[in-house]
């Protein structure tokens, strides 16, 4: 049977076909749909959202040790979080197969950096598989499981946004039967005391040599021979671009990306007059190949190391390298791009919080989530964003060097706080930092499309469960002042924030209003502007609500009055609360009917 699947759907299907027993993840674009699909379509697999990638990875390790094939997925930066267990699990090796997906995001469509995680495979000295379409994404899960068990190693399956989110036709297979493996209390293998770890390190080195031999014969690395003098070494999505531009040129297609089959590559290089490497982001293949003595092989100088490749960029690079005579043609003159920057939704509870922070002119260390959009003008009330959980540590550091005269506020979401904010807050208490932390609890992981968290009361598989009590948790860390507020109540939020920012010692403010979009779309009666009463002061414009726009009617002949788009307004009332002339009122029901 054939189906049109995205790369992520294909990985989910691959897990099912490979007899996976357990799948764990923390959401992150472009990886999120893998676990969502497993949970929705393959109930035979235990699937969970873990609080962060490190925990997910450790749960997966436990699953493997316990004897069931395990899959762990995350976005590229998630591997940084999971790097600690990864680096040592590479030593112990597996019991049942263990595969983790690193979904990289070249071009940073929705990420804070575009790190190339193929380096992680080399760093941990584990095998790396790189699919170039959905069919391979599915099939490689099974192959990776087999390699994992045969060579006693975790395996990395590296996707990129274009692989994860593109759809292509996939031939489905039946699931394989895998027998459960007993956990063997082999402490020399699983307890990484220095004495044991030294022995395991030797095994890692030996294993790598065996994997290199395996790579020489793996069908995942194949040569497409057309008898040309030029040869291209490529893998992942770049392979598709090369085939698009030069369908009849000799290609060495890499699917097993580490360790590389250097003997086979050497033969390929020797059989061609000129060999180029086409790979997205960093020169991973190129450096390894050149370091092995094949110094005539080139690549990055023509194709660049930033952003995504594309058929056009590959064609341009080939032209630059003198291989394609003509530069790719240019069609119609591009128009000036009209920007549609992402903004906080109408009715978003984060807007109330930022309106107050802006008013108080606070220095705000931010974090990653929808609330990062608080940085966008006209709100402009969030001033840093590094990685998940960084806000609190950043605030502590700033306060320690600047003293507490200029209050610092850390802002992070509920999911982010549970992911890696708790330890930061512990530090604020322990080291007596005079900061205020806002946990913007909208009861969901909104940025990535609405996943459950340990505080929402539901699991990924839809079961009801306990939910974290933020107030108690924060009190238990030793925070003496913990307040809860409705962030869309302007006066209350303003008063509470003033007090807490002035209060010595660490304090925490928890906002309690749920997201307007998820899990349910909130739509209350919309508001409208009574134009005669609007004085054009523009206060409502400055909260950056997409439902408010300038009217054609001007106040005092020059300042545009405001109007509200009733189809977008959710009736959150924030604009009405800050409107001095009280020109914003609930829309009359009669109007609504019309």
């Amino acid at each position: 049977m054939k189906e049109l699947l995205s790369g992520n759907e294909a990985v989910a299907r691959g897990a099912f076909e490979a007899g996976v027993k357990l799948a764990a993840a923390y959401p992150g674009t472009p990886s999120t749909e893998i676990l969502e699909n497993i949970a929705a379509r393959f109930p035979s697999i235990y699937a969970e959202w873990s609080p962060n990638e490190k925990v997910a990875f450790e749960v997966g390790i436990g699953g493997s040790m316990g004897g069931g094939r395990s899959l762990v997925t995350m976005k590229h930066v998630g591997v940084n979080v999971a790097a600690d267990p990864l680096m040592t699990f590479a030593y112990t090796g597996v019991n049942a197969g263990f595969v983790f997906v690193s979904a990289d995001d070249p071009e940073m469509h929705s990420s804070q950096n575009e790190q190339d995680n193929r380096f992680f495979a080399k760093f941990a000295q584990i095998p790396l598989l790189e699919p170039s379409d959905s069919q391979e994404s599915k099939d490689m899960v099974r192959t990776a499981m087999e390699i994992s068990e045969e060579f006693d190693t975790p395996v990395m399956l590296r996707m990129t946004t274009r692989i994860s989110h593109s759809k292509s036709v996939v031939e489905l297979n039946d699931p394989v039967e895998v027998s459960h493996k007993q956990f063997d209390r082999d402490v020399a293998k699983y307890v990484m005391l220095p004495a044991h770890a030294r022995l395991r390190h030797t095994k890692v080195v030996e294993r790598l040599a065996k994997l290199a031999e395996y790579a020489e014969n793996s069908p995942l690395n194949r040569i497409e021979d057309y008898g040309t003098k030029i040869g291209i070494i490529t893998g992942g999505i770049s392979y598709q671009y090369v085939k698009e531009i030069m369908p009849d040129t000799d290609v060495f297609k890499i699917g097993f990306g580490f360790p590389l089959p250097l003997k086979k590559i050497k033969k390929f290089v020797e059989a061609h007059e000129r060999v180029l490497v086409v790979e997205e982001l960093e020169p991973h293949y190129e450096e390894i190949i050149r370091a092995a003595g094949m110094t005539s092989v080139r690549g990055k100088e023509f194709f660049g190391r930033e952003g995504e490749l594309s058929p056009r960029r590959v064609a341009e690079g080939m032209h630059k390298a003198g291989i394609l005579e003509k530069a790719p043609e240019i069609g119609f003159k591009p128009a000036e791009l009209f920007p549609r920057p992402p903004v906080l939704c109408p009715g978003c509870p984060h807007r109330g919080m930022f309106t107050v922070l802006k008013k108080l002119k606070a220095t705000v260390t931010g974090d990653i989530g929808c609330y990062t959009l608080g940085t966008v003008e006209p709100l402009g009330a969030l001033h840093t964003c590094i990685c998940m959980g960084a806000s609190i540590g950043n605030a502590i550091g700033m306060e320690k060097v600047n003293g507490s005269k200029e209050p610092v506020v850390a802002v992070l979401g509920d999911s982010t706080f549970l992911h890696s904010g708790i330890t930061g807050l512990m530090d604020a208490v322990y080291n007596k930092s005079n900061i205020t932390t806002i946990i913007a609890d909208n009861r969901i992981t909104a940025m990535t499309g609405g996943q459950q968290t340990p505080a929402t009361g539901y699991t990924l598989m839809g079961e009801e469960t306990q939910s974290v009590d933020f107030v108690k948790l924060v009190e238990a860390l030793g925070v003496e002042s913990v307040r809860t507020i409705d962030p869309l109540n302007y006066e209350e939020t303003l008063a509470v924030m003033k007090e807490e920012m002035a209060r010595p010692g660490p304090s925490v403010v928890i906002t309690t209003r749920p997201c307007v979009l998820m899990p349910r779309r909130v739509m209350d009666v919309p508001y409208e502007v009574i134009l005669e009463d609007c004085n054009g002061c523009s206060a409502c414009f400055r909260i950056g609500c997409p439902a408010i726009f300038p009217s054609k009617e001007l106040a005092k002949g020059k300042f545009p009055k405001a109007e509200i788009d009733a189809t977008h307004c959710t009736g959150c009332t924030l604009c009405a609360q800050i409107c001095r002339p009280e020109a914003i009122v609930m829309k009359q029901p009669a109007e609504k009917v019309k």
Partner: protein, 199 residues
């Protein structure tokens, strides 16, 4: 459609149904026996951002993204987005564009304002434009969200599958509650296309 690859670029804004349109198109192509790849970027789409989808249909498709400047058809659900995508169109390609104008609030404050007449700008570059008052048609049918199906129907003769293949795709992929409405929208768009083809 023999050996050639058909490249269709769909442009719009979050919430306009770009992804459903590209799903319908892909489904129609698969049922008609073609290889299909489609690719889209939709990271921030929920928050009013741009959504675009590339669909490529042929005997064997490699790249999931259309080579720049080689789209045979651009379906744009929004005027400024159509203009923004113009450089993806092949010199012989066709733009099928909805009259819809979605002006985001940032346009009222930012440096770049919403273009005065995007369709006129497009026509300065190519005559191969079909402007459809899809928004009006959709509203008459009772649901603004039908713009995507109407545009797809208008473009369908240029893509070239049997009419019933499209209808089957709608029955398969649209929520049951909305199937009839979408079939009606498709039928209206299809008739409009008929008159365009003759003209």
């Amino acid at each position: 459609m023999d050996n050639q690859i058909k490249n269709i670029f769909i442009a719009g804004v979050g919430g306009q149904g770009v992804l459903l349109a590209s799903e319908l198109l892909s489904e129609a192509a698969i049922v008609s026996g073609y290889d299909v790849k489609k690719s889209e970027v939709h990271g921030m789409s929920q928050r009013g951002g741009v959504v675009s989808s590339h669909v490529r249909i042929g005997k064997k498709v490699f790249s999931p993204i259309i080579p720049y400047g080689q789209a045979d058809i651009i379906l744009s659900f929004e005027q400024a987005e159509g203009l923004g995508a113009i450089d993806w169109l092949s010199p012989t390609g066709k733009m099928v564009i909805s009259s819809t104008r979605l002006v985001p609030p940032s346009a009222n404050f930012g440096k770049l304002s919403y273009p005065e007449d995007p369709v006129a700008e497009i026509r300065k570059r190519t005559d191969n434009v079909i402007l459809v008052d899809a928004e009006k048609m959709a509203l008459e049918l009772g649901n603004i969200r039908l713009v995507n199906t109407i545009l797809l129907a208008v473009a369908s003769p240029f893509i070239g599958f049997e009419r019933n293949v499209w209808e089957e795709a709608i029955k398969k992929l649209v929520k049951p509650k909305y199937v009839d409405l979408n079939l009606k929208a498709f039928s209206q768009g299809y008739e409009l296309a008929g008159s365009e083809v003759k003209a």
